[in-house]
Symmetry: C2
Subunit: 471 residues, 2 copies
């Protein structure tokens, strides 16, 4: 165990030196010693990424050919097979699918139809994990509320009704914070409504913008409460029903959902490596998730992120760069409705996590990147900020403290420094978990910038003799 101890002492000394250098005004201007050392390699990586066409082509081929990739679906497994074959084509090392048992929820046919005050086909998507309705559907009067508190105030009126939570996406905080607030209804509507005797629960889709676009996503049933069917309506239709209620119109609708949960299904995390030239047992892992919801083609959420990481490592390899440590591409499975892939990765790689230098994920869409949110020590952040300056030429040099993404969460909690690609997410929730999550969302140049951003950071983390400081 003497090698790690020596390495730790060396790292601490180097880090202290780096921080000192970085603190000097003259040095700070060009990002410090690390940035200067890797400027040439970073510029080559950026140039290659900004001219890249393969990643977009592959992303389109996979998403167009296999479509959406919900856990348990044949499309997901076919897509994984295709990716593994292409990674073999790329001559990556240790290309493999690591087994993960995943939940298997199936949507089936579904509809929500307004019966009164006038016929109208509502724009709906059942929520992931929901139980179904009887085959004839559930026809019931509707109670519209705007919050959990509002439901509590009208609890006596909810029995036997379909409760609709028309709670708008907050616009007074950034999108991700607004999502965290608003998604409470997606998760909790069903059990909250069931507690007061409702027969089904609907929510207003979790989004700041709509074109009659329903958004799916997971719900959470409370263990001690009856499970009732739950679905999202488009913003427009939720507002329509709310106005009808405000006018005193008697609202009745029929909800039909064939949704059901089948036994867990076998799936895989996708892993491939560029083995380190000097310290192959030290790993920088980067990726996104390969599964998606069962709508659209999951190009934004999150094939784009997964493929950006893949192409980042492929470009480093193609440029003939041979970083000291291993770069590992990971495409986690089941991010959307279980998080099994991220936890399985942590469990299956537990022994090597002490030597895992960083875990990086892109899962906010491959929009124009700002840089990274870094989850780790202050010393680690200081080094990451220095490396970040190498990305200033493409406007992606911002590194700030913040949370990592879902799939790397379990790994980060084991002490591994985390990097989340930070992007302009102003339109992310427009497409999130919808049929509009298609290749059309992907901007070629923004995607290239994301590839460059992940590649430069991952390369320097894998190449620099210093180990990124941990807690």
């Amino acid at each position: 165990m003497s090698h790690p101890e020596r390495a730790a002492i060396r790292n601490r000394l180097l880090t202290a030196a780096l921080l000192l250098l970085g603190a000097l005004p003259l040095r700070a201007q060009d990002g410090g010693a690390i940035a200067r050392r890797y400027k040439s390699a970073a510029d080559r990586i950026i140039a290659a990424a900004m001219a890249d066409t393969l990643a977009y082509s592959r992303l389109a081929t996979m998403t167009d050919t296999y479509g959406s990739r919900l856990s348990g679906s044949p499309g997901l497994e076919r897509a994984i097979n295709w990716v593994l074959a292409r990674m073999q084509d790329d001559s990556f090392a240790n290309v493999r699918g690591e087994p993960v048992m995943v939940p298997h929820w199936v949507r089936g046919q579904e509809s929500a139809t307004l019966v009164s005050p006038r016929p109208w086909t509502l724009h709906m998507l059942g929520l992931g994990g929901s139980v179904g309705t009887p085959p004839e559907g559930i026809t019931a009067p509707v109670l519209v509320v705007n919050s959990f508190d509002d439901l509590a105030a009208h609890a006596a009126e909810a029995k036997g009704k379909i409760v609709l939570f028309d709670s708008p996406f907050p616009t007074n905080v950034p999108p991700m914070e607004a999502y965290e607030i608003n998604v409470a209804y997606r998760g909790g509507a069903a059990s909250a409504a069931a507690k007061v005797g409702a027969v089904a629960a609907l929510i207003r889709s979790v989004t700041p913008h709509s074109q009659q676009t329903p958004h799916t996503g997971s719900l959470r049933y409370q263990a001690d409460v009856p499970k009732i069917p739950s679905a999202a309506l488009s913003v427009e239709d939720a507002e329509l029903l709310h106005r009808m209620q405000n006018r005193g119109d008697p609202i009745v609708l029929t909800l039909k959902m064939q949704a059901r949960t089948l036994p867990d299904a076998p799936s895989r995390n996708v892993v491939a490596e560029l083995r380190g030239s000097e310290r192959p047992d030290e790993v920088v892992v980067l990726g996104g998730h390969i599964d998606s919801w069962d709508v659209g083609e999951g190009a934004m959420d999150d094939a784009g992120g997964a493929f950006a990481a893949w192409e980042a490592v492929r470009l480093i390899k193609a440029l003939g760069l041979k970083p000291r440590r291993t770069l590992r591409v990971a495409m986690w499975v089941n991010e959307e409705n279980g998080g099994r892939g991220g936890r399985a990765y942590r469990d299956q790689h537990l022994a090597e996590l002490p030597k895992t230098i960083a875990a990086m994920e892109s899962d906010n869409g491959v929009f124009r990147p700002y840089g990274f949110r870094f989850q780790g020590s202050a010393a680690g952040l200081a080094v990451a900020k220095q490396i970040g300056t190498l990305l200033d030429p493409i406007g992606a040099g911002l590194v700030e403290a913040g949370d990592g993404e879902a799939d790397v969460g379990a790994t980060i909690r084991e002490g591994v420094p985390g990097f989340a690609l930070s992007v302009n997410d102003s339109t992310y929730f427009w497409y999130h978990h919808t049929d509009a999550d298609m290749m059309t969302v992907i901007d070629r140049d923004d995607f290239r910038r994301c590839i460059a951003t992940m590649a430069v950071m991952a390369y320097v983390l894998a190449e620099m003799p210093e180990e990124l400081p941990r807690q």
Copy 2:
């Protein structure tokens, strides 16, 4: 005929004087004599409009209750009945439905399903006026082209195929100009494809933004070419098929459309008046169209415009203002698929058009108004600009030369000066002719500004002793 002659001479003299005054720098700053004269009334109108809640409430009630209003539909006639009843409630004069025979196209059930290379339910809307398919649908290979020229270059490959025109909405010109260019495909795809032996024609929806949102609208069959079914796909799905073709995937889809054209149906232009206090036979007519496509609820296109005009006149009346000339609210029918209402209005009011001072319409959505496009003489424009300054307090004072709207076109061609409400149309085509044309698009404050803008201009045109100069 001596009165009109005297009036004409008086008007010319007054106009010359006004233009002279308007040209003086000191006068120009406050908009000139007319603006000064009506400043107080305009401010009262603006204040009332900016506090208005009735128009929004009525707009929501009508659109939510009766839904979309395609010519020939029961919903349209019920909505017209409701509006006429409310106009009676408002104690307007001469409230009436003026008979118009309208085309009666019915969509029926429809679908487009990708058979190869993979199953996928395409997001489609049949185009208005299209013929249907046989009950079993049309299953055929797909040829994707990006323009009429591209089809000509691949004419030999089109026989027996479904031709898809994937022609993007131009982004290098303002939205309305882009629409005029791009809509050529909606109108002409069917006959262009039929000429080279295609069995059906699809277009990419005419829009700069999509969330899997198909856009309908009228097509035009050429008389000497076989009529083939035609529909719009969402932008995403058109791009999907185009990418599949570029990759060499064999594309086959099944198109099913029950569309048919029934005999013309009776409908009505809605008209109501605030009779002029001194010259009731001189008329300022303002409105929008009451019909819509058979998707969404037609709140933006164009119930909002029609209701803004209605509320404009109702507010003038409620404020106790008694303009000299008659203010006439008109809600034309069949703007969307025939223009019969606008022509019927011209024909039925032909005798009074020489005394029609102005014809004003809002049909670009009730978004933030800039002011007006004015279609008429230079002298008329100069006066309209002066009146426009009264709207500077709400940022709606811009009056520029430009074309009027569709329904008033026939009237304008008879020499009547035309006013088109000019608005920020940057998102208009996102919702245009889609299921997303719902009340959610309507911003309460922008709607109020539109009401104020139409009301101030219409009031001054009806009240000022001078007649707005014609050609």
